[in-house]
Symmetry: C2
Subunit: 432 residues, 2 copies
């Protein structure tokens, strides 16, 4: 049996998961692939640091060149994250004729085109199943088994941290700040939670998914991204009373031949729907294809072993290509450059919570403004005065039919100026 040597860049959470997955199932993995798979070197910043997994200390090096430039190493696993210097390392590995496996969502979302293009030219593989959805095999499915489909929509819950926070806010009626503090203490959220809470992690992931689904490059700076910081326990409670839960959704939709809509924002999702039932650290991704219809994938979206499992799956795939001389067999499929539509072109339903003057005619006046902006109202519920501090103020919850986001925005702008509206407290999209 031939031996294929691989090198790792990074031995953090994902690297450790990959090493452990490989060690714990080595015999079956090698038999499936038809080759011995040997980790030759692991480049880390600090070779003395304690590791989450047992590795021979002789494998560790603080010299990335020992991985990137070793002619014996056929596969480089880039597991350090971030754009720089990961990008330069990946390109150097490819120039050196090595295939690359990466779980680096930020690099692939922001700058994946160049390594993919260079890998094609060099006839090597560049794979990144672990970059989205942890162990959920969504990227390979779109590139291969479902590749015959014209995909019209890809949508899901792709960030476990915010899903965990929203799940706990829902269960406990707690506010974000309190749950976040607790999540940080127990390791479910990072010390600097910006990337998760502000939606950037989900942005990278939906950019990657959309680029594959719609065979198009996706400029992440044009992906509308709104995190969960505006979601309050109060909104979650109102949603619940109407039969909805609030989730951070990442959505990509086809909009005709040459345009797509890609966005990340919290949304009300109908209870009982699969996305609504996705709790805690789980991810769920729904694909809609012209032939296959709806297919849902559900699993742990992050973590050492799930993501490690995806990295090992990619390593096995590259190994098979190496043995058959077919590295580069699935090249970049983002051969289009579709227009990303601005958020104002979205058509969906909206939930709007406001404080209104508690006088006869208030609701009629507000409804009039909505109407003049083409916003059709599905329901309005005004709570009794006294539900808020001021005596002459009531809370009103509006839910619209499908309307254009530009219209809802202009309606809300005008509503802030009329005396019947004390304040627009929040507004969220409703995704049916």
């Amino acid at each position: 049996m031939e031996t294929i040597e691989i090198g790792l860049l990074g031995l953090g959470v994902v690297g450790s998961g990959a090493v452990r997955t490989l060690e714990e199932n080595r015999e079956a993995i090698e038999r499936k692939v038809g080759a011995r798979v040997r980790i030759k070197r692991i480049a880390v910043r600090d070779t003395k640091k304690p590791r989450m997994v047992d590795v021979d200390p002789a494998l560790l090096t603080d010299d990335v060149g020992a991985v990137l430039d070793d002619p014996g190493i056929r596969i480089v696993c880039e597991l350090i994250g971030g754009v720089h210097p990961a990008r330069e390392y990946v390109l150097r590995a490819i120039e050196n004729g090595k295939s690359v496996v990466s779980a680096n969502k930020e690099l692939i979302a922001k700058d994946g085109h160049e390594p993919m293009h260079r890998a094609s030219e060099q006839g090597v593989d560049f794979m990144f199943e672990g970059s989205v959805g942890g162990g959920i095999p969504i990227i390979q499915a779109m590139k291969s088994a479902l590749a015959g489909n014209r995909i019209t929509e890809v949508k899901g819950i792709v960030n476990g941290t915010t899903n965990y926070i929203l799940s706990r806010m829902t269960e406990e009626g707690a506010e974000l700040a309190d749950v976040l503090r607790d999540a940080q203490a127990s390791g479910y959220a990072e010390a600097d939670p910006t990337n998760d809470v502000e939606g950037y992690d989900a942005q990278y992931k939906i950019a990657i998914l959309s680029s594959i689904a719609f065979t198009s490059r996706v400029d992440t700076t044009k992906v509308y991204t709104e995190g969960i910081t505006r979601v309050t326990a109060h909104d979650i409670e109102h949603a619940r009373e109407m039969g909805y839960v609030i989730k951070l959704l990442a959505i990509g939709k086809s909009a005709g031949e040459d345009a797509i809509q890609v966005r990340v924002h919290p949304a009300l999702v109908r209870e009982g729907q699969p996305l609504a039932s996705t709790l805690g650290p789980f991810n769920a991704i729904l694909l809609r294809g012209h032939a296959v219809g709806d297919v849902l994938f559900y699993g742990q979206g992050a973590g050492m072993m799930p993501t490690g499992s995806a990295v090992v799956g990619d390593i096995m795939d590259v190994c098979r290509n190496i043995l058959h001389g077919s590295t580069g067999r699935i090249a970049c499929t983002c051969f289009q450059n579709k227009r990303l539509l601005p958020i104002e072109t979205v058509v969906t339903r909206y939930y709007i919570r406001m404080y209104v003057s508690d006088r006869p005619g208030s609701i009629a006046a507000i409804a009039g403004v909505f109407g003049r902006h083409n916003v059709s109202i599905a329901s309005v519920r005004a709570n009794a005065p006294g539900s808020v501090d001021a005596h002459d103020t009531a809370e009103a919850i509006w839910v619209t039919h499908n309307v254009l986001e530009a219209d809802i925005r202009s309606a809300l702008a005008e509503l802030q100026t009329i005396p019947e509206v004390r304040s627009v407290e929040n507004w969220l999209r409703v995704e049916e």
Copy 2:
């Protein structure tokens, strides 16, 4: 761009779905693959029969040799079903150096080893994503992206017809015979529903899934198979009152290094769980891997376009292998021959419904028999007398803790002989 010619055997539901998927998305498919994909011939029994899809009549032939022996055809899609003559056609295509794509679950479950083995020897592909779960990309996921995992369990709802029937029985409180008649009239069940209703279709599918999951051959004749004919509206109602729904489950479990448990039977599933929420013609398949944890796949498990989508995905994969000279890159992974454990070794919970003599001491006597057979009772509920026709008879519903199936069987055998038990009406497994 190179042209790859393919031939079809059969142009029924799945064949038509494959042709339509290909035609409707041809440009993107060819660009992804990097080759023109051309259907050269389609062998059918009756070239004059009306078809569900428009094809050039000149492509049709009633001579299978025109497909199997044409040296220009690189890929043969076997879409006729059944073991014979499909098996002989597949082997002839492989001998002729062609790769084969099949959606024939019966052939692959009963006799898939030989074509896979011959394909390996010939260095061609034999792919069958469409054989299980329609368009759900479960087979490829196990063979590739999740291949690093030691899978401990694969379980699901893999037969849409019985799931549709059970869903309607649950919604309407109707009996099987009535729903079945209606399902046949509306095309959801076949004129001869044996294959679905008796669980054979699910048996083939779980045999295929288990063989890949556990890298072992699976002898279908040793797969315990029980259909849905014993499930009554009455049982569904009792299950509902306890918070369960009844589903036809197909289950494969690893049992140590060299044994597996593979079975098909109706079971009580806790409401709110993903499998319980799988309604109508949908399929759901849950995988449990040592690294990835639980991953759930959900989608339409049958039908023209979903299965056609899977066939086209396989065709694209073979095309890429042809272009890169790497056909045969994923060979058969069933390199073990694990023992299939008999049903008596299953350990699970049980639901038992019986008519009992309505006298003080009856329940105690029955509980005593259960106890002597190591059957530990979780709950028993005896309905008031008069709930059944005879005045001195009550209905008792027992639910056990986890017990050995051999013990439940011996307990039930003894219970049928004691005077306190009028009749054991039904018993079903509970899958938590």
